[in-house]
């Protein structure tokens, strides 16, 4: 055999062997001991790396879970209670349960009810537009409609409705990761408790102007009249800055507030259609009295039972 080839093989093998020995000792010396449970926990997580838990990614969250003693402040909204139970099982701790949540858009001012007062021709981004001014309608609190929220949604749960110009939440896909809440410069998204059949009642407005001004800029604005506040039997509604807010943890979905609203700014979604008032009035007095009395009550009882 050619001696050059031989020497080459020998020297390279020697180099390889000596490097391997050095690397072996270095690896021993600088070994990072990692809790194997971190890998196990990470495996159970959704691997969406959405940041909904407040950590940079699922791995960070898994590390925090392993470190923590009682899961305080740790919850994966995407995986929900099931995932948290699985994680708790691995770590041998008590699982924390949270009510599943869902994002809702607190603005219902579409193009028909909220007239434009100027034309915006700048960058099509909500963040940029809101840094420049209040928006192209009279309402400086409402949706700008450039879809920053749609852009950040990792779960395909948001889309822009081309007719209304507002984003629409797809209840099936929404994981309540909170990305849209952070992205919206007008703070229009809220994570509310997910009720049965995805039923929702909420004030779809953030306008803090006084009644007259709010109404002028948007026909479906909350005017802060407090009618819903007065009618709510569960003290779920609070009034602040000319604006009503329904606390989803207290709301029993009785729907009493909805017809009270003079501007229809309280939305009810996912409910069976109501019996028309005219229909009831048209009925015979003797028969309809019972209906009239029972109807809202019945609805109320049904809903509380469902809860």
């Amino acid at each position: 055999m050619n001696s050059t080839v031989l020497y080459t093989i020998l020297s390279l093998s020697g180099l390889g062997a000596s490097s391997a020995i050095i690397l072996y000792f270095v690896a021993q010396k600088f070994k990072v001991i990692e809790d194997p449970r971190i890998d196990d926990v990470e495996e159970k997580l959704p691997a969406a790396n959405c940041g909904g838990c407040g950590f940079a990614g699922c791995r960070n969250f898994a590390e925090a879970c392993v470190k923590s003693d009682d899961f305080e402040g740790l919850y994966c909204p995407v995986g929900g209670n099931e995932t948290m139970a699985a994680v708790a099982k691995i770590l041998g701790r008590e699982a924390v349960e949270q009510d599943p949540r869902i994002a809702v858009l607190r603005c219902n001012g579409d193009c028909d009810v909220r007239p434009k007062i100027n034309n915006y021709d700048g960058t099509l981004s909500c963040a940029v537009a809101s840094a420049l001014y209040g928006g192209d309608t009279g309402c400086q609190y409402g949706c700008l409609g450039f879809g920053d929220c749609v852009e950040v949604c990792n779960f395909d749960a948001l889309s822009m409705d081309p007719v209304s110009g507002l984003p629409v939440v797809n209840d099936m896909n929404c994981t309540a990761c909170g990305a849209c809440v952070k992205a919206c410069p007008k703070d229009l998204f809220e994570l509310r408790k997910r009720a049965k059949k995805d039923r929702k009642i909420y004030v779809a407005c953030r306008n803090e102007d006084k009644g007259g001004i709010a109404k002028k800029s948007c026909a479906v604005a909350c005017i802060g009249c407090s009618k819903c506040f007065k009618v709510c039997p569960y003290e779920a509604i609070t009034m602040a800055n000319n604006l009503a807010f329904i606390d989803s943890d207290k709301c029993k979905l009785c729907r009493k507030c909805v017809p009270e609203c003079p501007t229809n700014s309280i939305l009810e979604i996912g409910f069976p259609p109501r019996k028309e008032k005219e229909e009831l009035a048209a009925k015979d007095e003797s028969t309809s009295v019972i209906d009239k009395v029972i109807d809202p009550e019945k609805q109320d009882i049904q809903n509380t039972k469902e809860e």
């Binding site: 007062i117 100027n118 021709d121 700048g122 960058t123 981004s125 963040a127 940029v128 840094a131 420049l132 001014y133 209040g134 192209d136 400086q140 102007d209 006084k210």
Partner: protein, 443 residues
């Protein structure tokens, strides 16, 4: 060769249409709203209630905190209400509404046009009077002047620089002020020198205003320590850091203040306001505003009381042309389009610019072609294309490392970009996010 700054800069068409127009006083409106945050810093605290009577020059809102400014009533009349109203920020914010009755001034304000040269105040007295008068930087940034005059411990001011550059195209408010109020301006400069305890002051003026340079140079001979420096025309020479570089050839360090290198800069408008506040007891209640535009009948320079609705200024200048595309508060480079003409003039309004519809449209946004024009025009030596990309991707740590906070928002990058990319829009966005991060870190 004329002095100028070295890094970057552009030269947009000057369009100084209102240059030969004398300052005209404007009529009083019937009712106004005065925003309580017309300055940089904490909004002022209203001192009046609904129904109270006010006179011209009366304090109606007091500065809340160190970086804040007093606000005085520019009109006499009754307080209608305290409510939100649309201002130049584009948002409805807290304002004081005044129903104007007559024009009764506080008796201590000297309204005569006599020039009062002598003064014997100490530096502290001067700063206190400037603070009381609610004076803020009238070049546009509206930074409270008393804060600038209070030199931080361990630093020393050497030079006072008076900014008469007015590098924004179209605007002529400072130019006419320098011509018509030259003497007052120099007295104001002397007062500021005393307040800062410096003995050297330089008035920087771009060479497109030869009449102002000549006049001020002649008068400055009678004032000790004040000189006038002609500068080459280049935008954004009116920026504090650029002006210091042009005149003193010193560079403000990244993240530093001009006083770190011994300079303090005030606008000519501010120097005039200082003269009026100290020698005439007149708080900051009016300012010079240029109303201009290519299609406008009479581009003019008005002396306007703060709070006057912008539509009154446009009326006085010949009315809104039919094909107006945008009404801009400020100049074309740094100004901002207004959503409504009922918005009041504020302390920082240097001009109202009406842009014809065909010129007002933004260019279509095309992809970046890596021509690096934005890099070569940036007066701070930043890389605007990179800052925009980082801001779009929300990479705020890298944005901070790329010195986004040094950006003075002059808009040279957006102006020069052949692809019409909204560089400044995104940089400004990134800047505000990084600013928030830095503030939260300090807490």
């Amino acid at each position: 060769m004329l002095k100028t700054f070295t890094k970057g800069g552009v030269h947009p068409a000057e369009n100084k249409l209102s240059v030969n127009q004398k300052i005209i006083d404007l009529d009083l409106p019937a009712s106004v709203s005065i925003p309580i945050s017309m300055h940089l810093g904490v909004p002022s605290k209203p001192l009046v209630e609904k129904g109270s009577e006010v006179k011209v020059g009366q304090l109606i809102a007091a500065g809340a905190g160190f970086v804040s400014a007093n606000i005085h009533s520019p009109f006499s009349g009754k307080i209608l209400k305290l409510d939100k109203s649309l201002d130049t920020s584009g948002y409805k914010r807290d304002s004081i509404f005044i129903d104007i009755e007559g024009d009764t001034w506080l008796p201590e304000i000297d309204r005569s046009s006599d020039i009062k040269k002598e003064f014997s105040y100490s530096a502290e007295e001067i700063i206190q009077k400037i603070k009381d008068a609610g004076i803020v930087g009238l070049g546009g940034a509206t930074f409270p002047s008393h804060v600038k005059l209070s030199i931080p411990r361990g630093r020393k001011a050497e030079y006072l620089i008076i900014n008469g550059v007015e590098c924004e195209p179209y605007l002529t408010a400072d130019h006419v002020l320098m011509l018509e109020k030259s003497e007052e301006l120099l007295i104001g400069t002397s007062l500021l020198m005393k307040g800062l305890k410096v003995d050297k002051a330089v008035i920087g003026i771009e060479n497109n205003k030869p009449d102002a340079i000549e006049k001020l140079q002649k008068i400055a001979l009678n004032y000790k320590g004040i000189s006038v420096q002609a500068l080459k025309v280049k935008y954004p020479q009116g920026g504090e850091k650029q002006l210091i570089k042009s005149i003193l050839n010193r560079e403000v360090p990244s993240g530093g203040l001009p006083v770190d290198i011994g300079a303090v800069v005030f606008n000519v408008g501010t120097a005039f306001a200082v003269y009026e506040a100290i020698q005439k007891n007149k708080p900051l209640i009016e300012r010079i505003v240029t109303v201009t535009g290519k299609k406008l009948k009479k581009p003019s320079n008005f002396r306007v009381r703060i709070g006057t609705p912008i539509k009154m200024l446009i009326e006085a200048a010949g009315g809104l042309p039919d094909d107006t595309g945008k009404v801009i508060n400020g100049g074309p480079m740094m100004g901002k389009a207004l959503p409504d003409t009922s918005i009041p003039v504020v302390k920082g309004s240097s001009g109202i610019l009406l842009i014809p519809a065909e010129e007002s449209k933004r260019k279509k946004v095309e992809p970046c072609i890596r021509c690096s024009k934005c890099v070569s025009v940036c007066p701070l030596g930043l890389e605007p294309y990179l800052l925009m990309a980082l801001s779009q991707k929300s990479l705020f740590e890298r944005l901070e490392a790329e010195r986004v906070m040094d950006c003075i928002e002059c808009g040279s990058c957006s102006y020069i970009c052949p692809s019409g990319r909204p560089l400044l829009d995104y940089i400004r966005l990134g800047k505000s996010e990084v600013g928030k991060i830095i503030r939260s870190r300090k807490k």
